[in-house]
């Protein structure tokens, strides 16, 4: 059985890859295509300046025309679409170049890079990603801890269940990010700044999935199992440690995956009001200065972070469940 498993897993993965790859390639193709109409105005303006004849000669006329119509009328002058300096939509390879330059290149060759100065460059994406990651982790830990404590309380106390649970649900229908700027300003005014305000927002976003998952998990043991504990005349503490907690582990991990993604979103949103580094700050700076490639690179970095974090929790989950003998 155990010898068969990896092979079956590899086969399943191999069968799964082609459709996904096809979709990804299709999306990238669409992206390249979309670059043409998105940047056509700028391209035509540059072509006109270079002395090439452009179909409606005046810029005002062009501005009022549809982008696709412009593309159709000027098919010969679109070569620059994918290499503009400040495009409205950068092409994928431009984003990748920007990503490479602001990570590997900046650290290895830049004046402030890690090779020459010994610390991460504050102009590089790695530094900003680390700032965001720190806030994400702290927020995640606070949120998860509070969530688990609250869930334990809810499961053991009927009063808490009835009075706190409805408010926990209501709290999630409040768009928390509306609170983000205020939390940061208020905490700043009482002398707390830096990591913690962002972490508070992350924690707020990540505690709810944990509460819901843990309440479900702690209540997962069936009446049979609970009855068995009663026949052992087990005290509440023993029931909790030996039965409820172990059986809640799969639920916990399922919610941890949601929670870490949510807490990354919280950290990024929390960085918008204070410009002190981080991927959110980087995006906002990019939008102020029209550096679209920079925004896209930061976005890609955030996506990669989210993927790695969720994947890491998935790995820990698989290991823990196998150790506990609960893997399916």
């Amino acid at each position: 059985m155990s010898a068969e498993r990896p092979r079956r897993g590899a086969g399943a993965v191999l069968r799964r890859i082609p459709p996904v790859l096809a979709m990804v390639l299709g999306l990238i193709g669409l992206w390249y295509l979309a670059v043409i109409p998105m940047n056509v105005q700028e391209v035509l303006t540059r072509a006109e300046r270079a002395g090439v004849e452009v179909s409606p000669p005046s810029a005002v006329e062009r501005r009022d025309m549809g982008n696709w119509a412009l593309v159709v009328r000027n098919p010969g002058t679109l070569g620059e679409s994918w290499s503009l300096d400040r495009p409205r939509l950068p092409a994928p390879h431009q984003v990748l170049t920007e990503l490479y330059e602001s990570t590997v290149d900046e650290e290895l060759n830049g004046r402030r890079g890690i090779v020459r100065s010994g610390s991460l460059s504050n102009r590089g994406l790695v530094y900003h990603a680390m700032v965001t990651l720190n806030a994400t982790f702290v927020g995640f830990l606070i949120g998860t801890g509070l969530g688990i404590l609250l869930a334990v309380g809810i499961v053991h106390s009927r009063v808490m269940d009835m009075s706190v649970m409805p408010w926990a649900i209501v709290s999630q229908t409040i768009p928390i990010v509306a609170l983000a700027p205020m939390i940061i300003v208020v905490l700043y005014s009482i002398g707390i700044q830096g990591l913690l305000p962002k972490a508070v927002i992350s924690a707020y976003l990540s505690f709810f999935p944990v509460v819901v998952g843990m309440v479900k998990g702690l209540r997962a043991p069936g009446p049979m199992q609970m009855d068995l504990m009663r026949t052992y005349s087990a005290p509440k503490g023993t029931v909790f440690w030996k039965l409820r907690l172990p059986s809640s582990v799969p639920y916990l991990f399922a919610s941890l995956k949601i929670a870490i993604a949510a807490s990354l979103v919280g950290a990024i949103v929390g960085e918008l009001p204070v410009q002190q580094g981080g991927l959110g700050a980087r995006m906002l700076a990019g939008s102020y200065y029209g550096q679209t490639a920079q925004i896209w690179a930061a976005l890609l970095m955030a996506a990669a972070l989210a993927a790695v974090l969720v994947w890491a929790i998935g790995r820990i989950e698989a290991r823990t469940l196998r150790r506990m003998g609960m893997a399916q």
Partner: protein, 283 residues
């Protein structure tokens, strides 16, 4: 100091009342289920008021609830215009477009297995991404008006909705499908009579997740640029003026809108999926 003592008394009284209600004989009635959280909420509000006044917390850090209520009632016209701009124009239109598009895509994806196997992992991946990050880009493309907010909302709700609907459409047993085949039901009939109804709980799950996401998207997008109204705009400018009463009023509007829309979807769910195990309740 007396205020703080009163706050403590209030807390003890409220909690004791709740303990009696929750453990008393009437604890399973509808009234108790409603009363306990309401008492809890009122206790917290009362403590907030008493503590802020008693400890002399400056209003620029945490205004007491009474002051927030005052600001709220004094600025209802202004807040209503913000509500229309952010919630009705930005969030609602984006919500409808995004969920509608995701639903149609899900129907399409469900028809073609190859598409499903390709798009579903991607959709799952995208649903976990911080899509709010696209807000600056979309504001750059669609301008400062509500259109850019709607675009952010469309992107944010699309993937959770897609993933849930596709999962729902898969949620029929082979017995049920066989039964439809013995009836010689066409694909369309199977979809309308079996698969869509059984997908409804999942669809509503997606719709519920999306309501909160829609509000978040619309408000965050306003931080990147907006006309001089809108909840996000109101919050960020009022913080600049240290007018915390106004900030909290805007948050109250957002909270009310969020709770109301969530409640509306939940009500609709109750009406349409009354047959599902999660709705039937039981002893």
């Amino acid at each position: 100091m007396t205020h703080a003592a009163f706050a403590l008394l209030l807390w003890i009284a409220g909690w004791a009342l709740n303990v009696r209600l929750a453990n008393g004989p009437a604890s399973n009635t509808q009234a108790a289920r409603l009363a306990v959280p309401l008492i809890f909420g009122a206790t917290v509000l009362g403590m907030w008021e008493l503590l802020v006044r008693g400890l002399g917390v400056p209003a620029v850090i945490l205004p007491p609830p009474s002051q927030i209520a005052e600001t709220f009632t004094a600025n209802t016209a202004l807040l209503w215009r913000d509500f229309v701009q952010t919630i009705l124009k930005g969030a609602l239109s984006g919500y409808l477009i995004g969920c509608g598009a995701a639903f149609l895509t899900a129907l399409l994806v469900d028809r073609y297995d190859y598409l499903r196997r390709g798009l579903l992992p991607l959709g799952n991946f995208m649903a976990a991404l911080p899509i709010v990050g696209t807000a600056p880009i979309l504001v750059m493309w669609f301008g400062f008006g509500w259109q850019s907010k709607a675009a952010v909302v469309v992107l944010m709700v699309f993937f959770p909705m897609l993933v849930n609907t596709v999962a729902g459409l898969q949620d029929t047993s082979s017995m049920q499908r066989d039964l439809m085949r013995t009836y010689a039901a066409s694909t369309g009939q199977t979809l309308m009579k079996l698969r869509l109804p059984s997908a409804l709980p999942f669809v509503f799950n997606g719709l519920k997740i999306s309501t909160t996401l829609a509000l978040i998207g619309a408000i965050v997008a306003e931080f990147f640029g907006s006309p001089t109204l809108g909840l996000g705009f109101r919050i960020s400018t009022s913080i600049g003026q240290l007018d915390l009463g106004m900030v909290w009023s805007a948050i109250v509007v957002a909270a009310l809108a969020g709770t109301a829309s969530y409640g509306l979807v939940a009500l609709l769910e109750k009406r349409l999926t009354f047959w599902h195990a999660s709705q039937r309740g039981g002893p």
